[in-house]
């Protein structure tokens, strides 16, 4: 699995498709006429953390937002290639696929904490309400469970019905994680979730991501290489819209193959 997408280990993985949660193949993406992704390939291993790193503007967010078709909210954007979601074999960016269907299965946590201007409870319950879950007992149980998974329950259990805007930035981000967890998505996308947080809040989120790996598949964008090293199992390095290198994280940082990757991780650019 070392190097780019070929190699023996990679073939092994593809062979055992049950291990893959998603697979990006020859994905190109265009903002209008400007191409932001160039034939990207990337496997996403089930119940593991895959980190996307690379210099600012290389296309990390663009790639991540393809996974839940966020680009469809704006006119003129176009995909080529495929992202297959397993085990249902759904082509996420396929022309006939409704973006809503994709978003119902894939959760997202954004760069800046973005809770709704509602109560803590209603924030976490939002995804359930949207899916038509109304039974109070079920909603309450899911909200508590998600808040516990997001390591926030103890801090907010006495003020569930107060506004989410009363929480600190780090708490708000964990609330957003709980909100993404509540509908139990197969895959969760994180776009630099700690870039707006202080080091202590960052450490908490990192710890959390490590815990979540047991039950969820995670793709996380980070511009912080140390963070990628700490929390991910696989690391993918992007450069100018291309996927230059993908490897298990340990191997990625100890024996990078591509000269650009070496430059990047030794801090010579980016």
């Amino acid at each position: 699995m070392h190097g780019s997408v070929d190699g023996v280990a990679q073939a092994d993985l593809a062979h055992n498709a049950a291990q893959l949660r998603a697979e990006v193949k020859k994905l190109s993406f265009y903002y209008g006429t400007s191409q932001a992704l160039k034939s990207v390939d990337l496997p996403i291993v089930d119940r593991q953390v895959t980190a996307l790193i690379g210099a600012s503007g290389c296309g990390k967010s663009t790639l991540l937002r393809c996974f839940n078709r966020m680009h469809d909210l704006y006119v003129g954007n176009r995909y080529e290639g495929s992202i297959t979601l397993y085990p249902e074999n759904l082509d996420i960016v396929g022309p006939g696929v409704d973006p809503m269907l994709v978003r119902l299965r894939i959760g997202m946590v954004f760069q800046k904490p973005n809770p709704f201007p509602k109560s803590i409870f209603d924030n976490v319950a939002s995804g359930l309400y949207i899916r038509g879950v109304k039974t109070r007992a079920i909603v309450e149980q899911r909200v508590e469970q998600s808040l516990r998974q997001a390591a926030l329950w103890e801090e907010v259990k006495d003020r569930l019905h107060q506004s989410a805007y009363g929480l600190s930035g780090g708490q708000q981000q964990r609330l957003c994680i709980a909100r993404a967890l509540a509908p139990n998505p197969g895959l969760i996308l994180f776009d630099e979730p700690t870039s707006a947080l202080d080091p202590i809040a960052t450490a908490k989120i990192e710890e959390l991501v490590d815990q979540l790996r047991l039950n969820y598949t995670i793709v996380i964008v980070t511009h912080n290489m140390q963070q990628a090293g700490r929390i991910s199992n696989f690391t993918a390095f992007m450069h100018l819209g291309q996927m230059l290198e993908y490897a298990p994280t340990k191997q990625f940082f100890t024996a990078p193959e591509h000269p650009k990757t070496q430059e990047y991780i030794t801090g010579r650019f980016g």
């Binding site: 966020m70 973005n114 509602k118 805007y165």
Partner: protein, 315 residues
């Protein structure tokens, strides 16, 4: 100018020391603050003088009888019962028409309509309509509602006319409130799998409520004082009866006949009294002005309170 001269000039220009520059800045700051304060005080004094004048003339006249009597030929016995009830009912109709229509139109334009030349045209027209003199709306209503549709000179028609008048205000306020909702909120809702209607009704509209409410109240405060369009549609100036009650003791317990009732409103009553020669009626007019002022302030107060409640609820 020779090069030498330019250099000298520059040296002179720079001759101000840093201290002098700071002092100069402070001086112009002080000057500006003084001008601002003067203008503010003059305005406040004029406004207060107006209100105090009203109050001196009218305050003594305001009592229970004034509020519960019909107008009369004798100034001392005249009251504003029909006028304030008329104003309240007309504003009720205005709000019931303009707020839902305006909010729906604003939401549609902002969230659903594609941007093309038609929506551009609509947008320009809506902004322009907000600046059209109110008497034009009165003429439109006279021609359309009163003459063509034969709806009569009723509370319903007056409410409808004022609704048209404030519709642009509410549409523009709604659009601005919706536009100010951060993109992140929108993306968060869609990211959870929400469809457009769920996003708009569940997340965007609630967050935009304070802004929409402000627009609605600004519009209604304008409507409450409007005289010209209501005179134009032919409201009566002397009304010595109340519209039929909206509640009745027999099934179906509510009654919409009041909508078709003739009416008068506070500004018209005031206008009527001012144009009489007897001094007693002028006192009545001042008292009516005070009541109108109080109603407007009350409405604005209500808006501030509601906005505060909503903000506290969502923040």
């Amino acid at each position: 100018m020779t090069e030498q001269a330019i250099v000298t000039q520059e040296a002179q220009a720079r001759a101000l020391s840093d201290d002098e520059i700071v002092r100069k800045a402070h001086r112009s700051e002080t000057r500006f603050a003084l001008i601002g304060l003067t203008v503010l005080i003059v305005t406040m004094i004029v406004l207060m003088a107006l209100i105090v004048d009203f109050a001196i003339d009218g305050m003594a006249r305001i009592d229970r009888d004034f509020l519960t009597s019909f107008p009369s030929r004798r100034p001392g016995e005249a009251g504003i019962l029909s006028a304030w009830v008329g104003t309240a009912l007309v504003i009720l109709v205005t709000a019931a028409m303009a707020v839902p229509l305006g909010v729906a139109a604003g939401l549609y334009l902002e969230e659903y309509a594609r941007t093309n030349w038609i929506t551009d045209l609509i947008e320009i027209n809506v902004s322009n309509l907000a600046g059209v003199p109110s008497i034009i709306y009165g003429l439109l209503a006279l021609g359309l509602f009163v003459q063509t549709f034969q709806l009569g000179q009723t509370i319903f028609v007056a409410g409808l006319t004022l609704a048209l008048l404030i519709l642009p205000i509410i549409i523009v306020a709604t659009r601005e409130a919706v536009r100010s909702i951060p993109l992140e909120i929108r993306e968060a809702a869609y990211g959870l799998g929400a469809d457009k209607w769920q996003t708009v009704s569940g997340y965007i509209l609630p967050a935009a409520r304070p802004g929409i409410l402000t627009g609605a109240i600004v519009g209604m405060s304008r409507a409450i004082g409007e005289t010209a369009p209501i005179i134009t549609i032919g409201a009566l100036t002397f009304i010595a009866f109340l519209p039929p009650s909206p509640i009745q003791s027999t099934f179906p317990y509510v009654n919409a006949d009041w909508l078709n009732s003739p009416f008068t409103v506070l500004p018209i009553q005031m206008f009527n009294w001012i144009s009489r020669p007897q001094a007693g009626f002028h006192v009545n007019a001042a008292a009516t002005g005070l009541i109108l002022l109080a109603m407007t302030l009350l409405m604005n107060g209500l808006a501030i309170w509601l906005r505060y409640k909503i903000r506290k609820g969502i923040r």
